[in-house]
Amino acid sequence: MQRKWVVSLAIDGQDEITAEGTMNAIDQLMAEHELIVEVLDALDGYASNVERGTEVEPSDLAELVRFLREFADGCHHAKEEGILFAAMEQAGFPREMGPLAVMLAEHEQGRGYIARLRAVATVLPTGRRRIAPSSPLRPTITRRCCAVTSPRRTASCFPWPRLGSTVRSWRA
């Protein structure tokens, strides 16, 4: 199954124009990355509700965690680490410094944060509720983890598009 991108445009009532192409590995990572950032925005919204004392649905925290574990880590990070980073290492990118080292460290940091969130999600009682300011669970939910918010930063800094372009170089 080759992934494809499809774009359709209709401007000022004119006939719709459709273009399509095959996504390469970098296109896929970028699209997945954007999706993950959108879900991190949702996690941020959930945390803001907790901070404001708004009732929240505990099962939604479990679903946010499930997405981050199964899609972000189990699929996206697994492909990066197991396939792309391995290819980059073979091509001469060092694992101990530079972008690979930074990304691997961020992945580990994110896994730790998600594990803590998961632990909270499993002990929250069911049913919509406010999470009291005194609850020991609250800091874990509301603490923003830099590793989890970092995709927004790396999306603008890490040269994924250039990796797949004619430049394809990294200097240190």
Partner: protein, 64 residues
């Protein structure tokens, strides 16, 4: 100064390995279900439908 490159052939192999990974590691439809879940969560808590999540319905996004 270190310099490294990923040639077109390497990128093609990486893309193929991505496809194989998803075939072998992800159950049928699982990727799409997670994508739909992302759409629900984004709508509920980010106050807007995510562009990537919404794009899926039109076949634009990563599960295309």
């Amino acid at each position: 100064m270190a310099q490294a490159r990923l040639d077109r052939e390497v990128m093609a192999r990486v893309t193929a390995d991505f496809e194989r990974f998803e075939r072998e590691q992800t159950g049928p439809g699982e990727h799409e279900k997670l994508h739909a879940l992302a759409g629900q969560l984004t709508l509920r808590y980010a106050g807007r439908p995510g562009e990537q999540a919404a794009a899926h319905a039109h076949g634009h996004a990563c599960c295309g």
